[in-house]
Each structure stands twice: as structure tokens, then as C-alpha cells.
């Protein structure tokens, strides 16, 4: 895996969108499954960082996680 490929896999896993399975449970993106386990620590670090950035710049102070849950509650 090249460094560029690795970065793309990590970034795809960092996003907050989660599809749901037939039981309604969230499904990890396909890229998450392709990552070596040691890189899942980096995914977590970037998720923490991203959610905080989103919270800071959103007018309502909502992270992408909060937006995703609100969308599901109000759909």
C-alpha cells in the first residue's frame, strides 16, 4: 500500500456517514475493513480531531456525528 492509498483509506473511515444494515445497525465503511489494525488508532485520532473541528466551525456547534444522529431521529 502506498502512502497515498493509505491516506485515502484512513480518510474514508474518518467520515461520519454510516449506512445501516437490515437490523438498523451502523455499518463501517468498506475502507475501514481494509485497514491494518494498527492504522485504526490513526483513524480514531483523526475522528476525534475532525469531530472537534466540525463542532468548532458549525454555527449550531454540531459535529458531523450529531448531525448524522439528528438526521436519523428526524427523518
Amino acid at each position: 500500500m502506498t502512502p497515498e492509498e493509505r491516506e485515502v483509506l484512513i480518510e474514508a473511515s474518518v467520515g461520519a456517514y454510516r449506512a445501516r444494515d437490515v437490523e438498523g445497525l451502523p455499518v463501517a465503511p468498506p475502507e475501514w475493513w481494509d485497514l491494518p489494525v494498527e492504522l485504526l488508532e490513526e483513524v480514531h485520532r483523526r475522528q476525534v480531531e475532525s469531530r472537534e473541528l466540525e463542532r468548532l466551525i458549525d454555527p449550531a456547534g454540531d459535529s458531523a456525528t450529531v448531525k448524522a444522529v439528528m438526521a436519523r431521529i428526524t427523518r
Binding site: A12, P26, A68
Partner: protein
């Protein structure tokens, strides 16, 4: 009664805005509590499912009554860790699970954002190169609800190019913030 408890009590009376405020306060400590599970389960999915289950609890008139300081947050952390264990078992990733007797984590709710920090980030986003900022903004506006593929299409990029541009945006943003003496790592410490 803490602010977190007040928000959750209002959510139990059907106040959706209060529930959103409650989520804003507890998301960070819930995610932090899942640190030992990052190799075993998809933490983002676990956090979202935990918040959904807390909304179900808030709307259940016969739901469990919670007591004690930040009780709703402590309860949510318990749910999150159980969900992470269940998910790991469901996907046969038990070998990555931490021990059962994990120590409690600090449950301080997230602080209110600093306006100066907000301004610095907004200025740095405005200073990003065109394609990276297009990708980043598309993810911010659409990504959570519709996913990266839809966000990529909205700015005329393939998914791979879109993700590469988000990576570039993240790197440029970190450099810009460093120039303003703000470290991304400090944001979350």
C-alpha cells in the same frame, strides 16, 4: 444538577433541541471512553448507535431513571462499551477487545468552544487551496447525512480524488493553524 443532566431531563420531556445540546456535550467523552476499542469495532458507528439508544431511552416513559452527577453520560458510556464488545463479537474481532475490567474514564463534558479558536479555524479554511476547500466544505455540508460519494459528486470529483483533496485540506489546515500557534492536537486534549 449538571448542564448535561439538565439537557437530558429536558430531552425526556420531548425537547429535541435539548437532546442535540446533550449530544454536543457528551459525544467527546463517549468517544474517548472507546479508545481501548478502536481495533475491535468501528468507534464512529458505536458512538452514533449509543446516541440513538439514549434518544430511545429519553422517549420511553417507562425507561430507567438515572441518578447522580452526569448520570446520563455515565450510562451512555456503559452502553457504548457494551455495543463495542457486541460489535467485535459479531464480526469475530474478539482478539482485539480490551480486558473486561477497564478502568472508568473521566466523564467531563466537552467545554464550550472558544470564539478566538473558531475564528482562527475559519480563517485557515478560507485560506485553503480551491479544490481542497471545495472537498472539505462538501464533506462538512453533505458528508454526515449523505456520505462521501454524494459529497464528491456535488463538487464534480471522483470519490478517490475527493478523499485525496480532503487529506490535502487537513494538511494545509494543520499548517495554517500552526502558523497561528494553534495545534490540532491541542484542540482535543
Amino acid at each position: 444538577m449538571t448542564v448535561v443532566d439538565e439537557h437530558f431531563a429536558a430531552a425526556r420531556r420531548g425537547d429535541l433541541a435539548a437532546f442535540a445540546s446533550w449530544m454536543g456535550r457528551v459525544e467527546r467523552p463517549i468517544r474517548a471512553s472507546l479508545g481501548p476499542f478502536v481495533r475491535a469495532a468501528d468507534v464512529e458507528g458505536v458512538v452514533q448507535e449509543t446516541l440513538m439508544r439514549m434518544w430511545t431511552l429519553a422517549n420511553d416513559p417507562n425507561g430507567r431513571q438515572l441518578s447522580g452527577e452526569n448520570a446520563s453520560l455515565r450510562f451512555a458510556i456503559g452502553i457504548a462499551r457494551n455495543l463495542a464488545r457486541n460489535e467485535a463479537r459479531r464480526h469475530r474481532r474478539e482478539q482485539y477487545l480490551p480486558p473486561e475490567d477497564l478502568p472508568d474514564v473521566p466523564v467531563d463534558p466537552a467545554p464550550t468552544p472558544d470564539p478566538k479558536l473558531r475564528r482562527a479555524i475559519a480563517e485557515c479554511i478560507d485560506a485553503l487551496a480551491r479544490r481542497p476547500v471545495e472537498a472539505l466544505r462538501a464533506r462538512l455540508y453533505l458528508g454526515a447525512m449523505s456520505g462521501d460519494r454524494a459529497a464528491a459528486e456535488s463538487v464534480g470529483m471522483t470519490l478517490n480524488t475527493f478523499l485525496q483533496n480532503v487529506v490535502r485540506a487537513r494538511q494545509q489546515l494543520a499548517r495554517c493553524l500552526k502558523g497561528k500557534k494553534v495545534s490540532l492536537a491541542e484542540l482535543v486534549s
